[in-house]
């Protein structure tokens, strides 16, 4: 299948190095300390941040703990992996030493998925953290990229993502002196 036409246009009419339309809103969840909705094209993600607050213990039953095997535990492998990735990215930026013995909860939910959900989640989480006024070292922004039809492509949508070529999601920390460093780069 042709993902890049001979004129150099992709399936949705973009150039290879063109990103999708970005939209962001903050303050949607009134109850949360900080919240943001981030859209990259058709991918829409909402993030809510609660914290810093008292560390509370959570109880949950493992599904093998009772006589009969219970319901499936929350979260399949993929979402656990993505949660971990987002958490590590944010932990690298939040100045946690200023908030000892407290926890920050970040809840991210994908409302519409059209490729690049990981990046949209990181972007939304960053905005929500800033909205909550939590001290951070840097802002993290994220985008995905891939390689199809011998062309590097920026910001893949779902069709391009599932085409089978390599893709990478990169998180960039904007350091104060203007140079860039990368925080994460899981390759699928």
């Amino acid at each position: 299948m042709e993902f890049v036409s001979p004129e150099g246009l992709r399936l949705d009419g973009r150039r290879p190095t063109e990103m999708r339309q970005l939209r962001a809103e903050i303050g949607n969840v009134a109850k949360a300390d900080g919240s943001a909705v981030f859209e990259m094209g058709n991918t829409k993600v909402i993030a809510a941040v609660y914290g810093p607050r008292e560390v509370r213990c959570e109880y949950s039953m493992a599904n093998f703990s009772t006589g009969d095997r219970m319901r499936k535990p929350k979260g399949d492998r993929r979402s656990t992996e993505i949660s971990l990735v987002i958490r590590q990215t944010m932990e690298a930026c939040i100045l946690t030493h200023l908030m000892p013995r407290s926890q920050i909860d970040i809840f991210v939910q994908v409302l519409q998925a059209d490729g690049g959900t990981r990046s949209a989640c990181i972007n939304a989480a960053t905005l929500a953290l800033q909205d909550a006024g939590i001290p951070m070292r840097d802002i993290v922004t994220s985008c995905s990229a891939g390689y199809l039809n011998s062309t590097p492509l920026l910001d893949l949508n779902y069709v391009e993502d599932s085409a089978g070529g390599p893709d990478v999601t990169v998180g960039l920390r904007l350091l104060s002196c203007g140079t860039y460093g990368y925080t994460l780069g899981p390759m699928d």
Partner: protein, 327 residues
């Protein structure tokens, strides 16, 4: 002001926007260049500056760690975040709810990152005598405050690990009864000289806690510690008795009269409107809003309707422009 979820009709929207624009134009005394986001470099014009909250040293330059406005006071440079959690300082009046009773202390939830601690020794005993707390006192802690009680106290100190210690050694601190607790955003409450207000014309006590908890209650005379012991009795009676019957006349008076309750609700709604609109909560503004609602003969539940929001915004814009002209 975040996404007011009210249905405004067209004229109300226009009026509200006009009032808000007016407020914005009145308050733009701060330099627009002083807004920063995370990671922005803060320009430093002199040596020997002190780095305050919201800043950090990165590669020799001062960078902001929160999004907000840069404030410079003499040699201190700090970034004031637009919305942030409560930041306690010694001497702040706070209102908290007891979460746990542990040996020799109470743990209170005060809208802060951790629960605050009120030591038994920082609390006056019911009989008022100053003495060492014995084991019997420890066992009777629940008779002073039990779980889910509301307590008014003062911040004594914040420990190195961030935990907060409170003290309530004064007559005006202690358990709060017969009233309503409101939660507003902590940044709407500024530190003033007075946080305890007695509104004579309504017979209401108003305590504006720096942590964003506001207590509106029926006025209680200079706290008699004996009231604490009889507390459990009167509470039972309040729960049972009818609003209108004032005949039950126990020692300390039982039911809150209907008028007092209405005043409490009116003031509470005024504070709700002000906090939804994002205005600072001070006694003067609250009283003005309540007077506004009274002059319009608004029903208490109408105060949360869209028309009143617009009126409050307009009157606040008017008040600020007047005070600016006076200066």
């Amino acid at each position: 002001m975040r996404n007011l979820q009210l249905s405004f009709n067209q004229t109300q929207k226009v009026r509200l926007e006009k009032a808000l624009e007016r407020l914005e134009s009145l308050s733009s005394k701060s330099n627009p260049n002083s807004c920063v986001t995370v990671g922005d470099t803060i320009p430093v014009y002199e040596d020997g500056i002190l780095k305050g909250h919201g800043t950090s040293d990165q590669k020799g330059e001062l960078a902001a760690t929160v999004c907000g406005v840069v404030e410079r006071i003499n040699k201190l440079i700090y970034v004031r975040a637009l919305r942030a959690r409560y930041k306690p300082e010694t001497g702040d009046i706070v209102i908290g709810r007891v979460i746990e009773v542990v040996p020799k202390r109470w743990k209170l939830e005060i809208n802060f990152t951790q629960d605050a601690i009120l030591m038994l020794s920082s609390m006056n005993l019911p009989d008022g005598i100053q003495r060492r707390r014995t084991a019997v006192d420890e066992l009777n802690m629940r008779s002073i405050f039990t779980e889910n009680d509301l307590v008014c106290a003062e911040v004594r100190s914040s420990q190195g690990d961030g935990s907060l210690q409170l003290q309530a050694r004064n007559q005006k601190y202690g358990k709060l009864e017969r009233g309503q607790l409101l939660t507003v955003d902590p940044y709407l409450v500024k530190r003033r000289k007075q946080h305890f207000h007695h509104l004579e014309e309504y017979g209401i006590d108003l305590i504006i806690g720096c942590n964003g908890y506001i207590w509106i209650g029926e006025h209680v005379e200079a706290r008699d510690k004996m009231v604490v012991d009889q507390g459990s009795n009167s509470e039972q009676l309040i729960a049972e008795c009818d609003k209108n019957s004032m005949d039950l006349d126990e020692q300390d008076g039982t039911c809150t009269p209907r008028e007092a309750r209405q005043n409490i609700c009116r003031i509470a709604n005024a504070i709700r409107v002000l906090s939804r609109l994002g205005f600072n909560i001070t006694v003067e503004v609250i009283l003005e809003t309540v007077n506004l609602s009274n002059s319009l003969n608004l029903d208490i539940h109408d105060m949360l309707g869209s028309e009143f929001y617009v009126l409050v915004a307009e009157s606040e814009a008017e008040r600020r422009s007047l005070s600016k002209r006076k200066r």
